[in-house]
Symmetry: C2
Subunit: 212 residues, 2 copies
């Protein structure tokens, strides 16, 4: 990835999140979310995609799956899956995500919480996209599972991203689909084609062939 | 949905599609794709989402699952899932999709094929979005499974949509995630919020608070 691209890390949190009755719980990891997020983050140039669960056995199982697809027989059977899964890191808690990013990449990313609910302090996609592309800082996008990130996580984030709405008031998308739409709204350029890369640098107004 | 919104139907084809060695096959339906596409199409106001498989037993199993979630115990347990799954129709082949749309909605939609490969005649997202919002016709977006729609389907479509690229040359997204990005690029408005609906009508240039 060229050095003038923003660095957007992603973390999928299985804890602390809410269940249906607003208790703070740890949800179960699914291999499908791992596969989908891996491919998504490979598409949008995410340097690292963190999967957070305090449940050690689940981290171990996920690790076994990843090793199979990146180093085992699976790596030859499905190379695009192998390539995508290289970016996945399994960690115990959110603090470990930030520590790992600092250690591995030398940056302390600005955190962005996401939720299906609207809060007064939510930042719009347009505004956040502008910040992302103009400031060239590193960012960490936090995705929740279950019924959403616990308040203790939301309050420590620098930004809370507005929920996704399409053409109706219905906004109950699965996290893997919502994540794709978020990354595309924040980082994507609708008319990028195979030969576009690297994309031209963005001017301040984001005009022309650039990001806005 | 207001009558000046475009009508974008969606069909997920399990046949005819290619397998890894470019044979035309029928792929297996997955309940996860059904759930994800149902939620996605509820979000983007798709009047109907068709799931195409020639395999009768798979249509029967999928139907049982849908009945459980829309009419059985599942409908009270998870109302947002019930609401989304109302839009799913299970059919045997692509022609049945077009027949059903004509019968149920009185329109003959313009067909849009999608694929991960770039073809010379691909239409860009920007150009297709403009057509969709200005012409107010009905459209049918065809999503493939396996290794993509068979050529016999592609050649009968009016448009072939450009593949999705993010910030890297990697473009191997799962269909449920790709579909979300496509619908958002074609229909979405990044700053729509809960109180936005119905969205204002689009002027010809698509400026202001509108779609372009």
């Amino acid at each position: 990835m060229p050095s003038d691209y923003p660095q957007m890390f992603v973390a999928l949190l299985h804890f602390p999140v809410y269940n249906k009755v607003r208790q703070v719980v740890a949800t179960s990891l699914t291999t499908l979310n791992l596969h989908d997020l891996a491919r998504l983050t490979a598409t949008y140039g995410t340097p690292g995609c963190y999967v957070v669960t305090p449940l050690q056995r689940q981290r171990e199982l996920a690790h076994q799956m990843i090793v199979h697809w990146t180093q085992g027989y699976g790596a030859t059977y499905n190379p695009t899956r192998a390539e995508a899964l290289q970016h996945i890191h399994l960690v115990e808690h959110l603090e470990a995500v930030q520590q790992d990013i600092l250690q591995r990449y030398g940056v302390a990313p600005r955190t962005i919480a996401t939720d299906a609910r609207q809060f007064p302090q939510c930042i719009s996609y347009t505004a956040l996209r502008q910040i992302i592309w103009q400031r060239r800082d590193a960012f960490l996008l936090l995705l929740g599972t279950g019924w959403g990130l616990a308040e203790e996580v939301m309050t420590q984030c620098e930004y809370i991203l507005a929920p996704i709405y399409g053409l109706t008031p219905y906004n109950h998308l699965p996290v893997r689909v919502a994540a794709g739409i978020m990354l595309d709204r924040l980082l994507g350029q609708a008319d990028a084609v195979a030969g576009s890369f690297p994309l031209p640098a963005c001017d301040e107004k984001g005009t022309g062939s650039c990001m806005l």
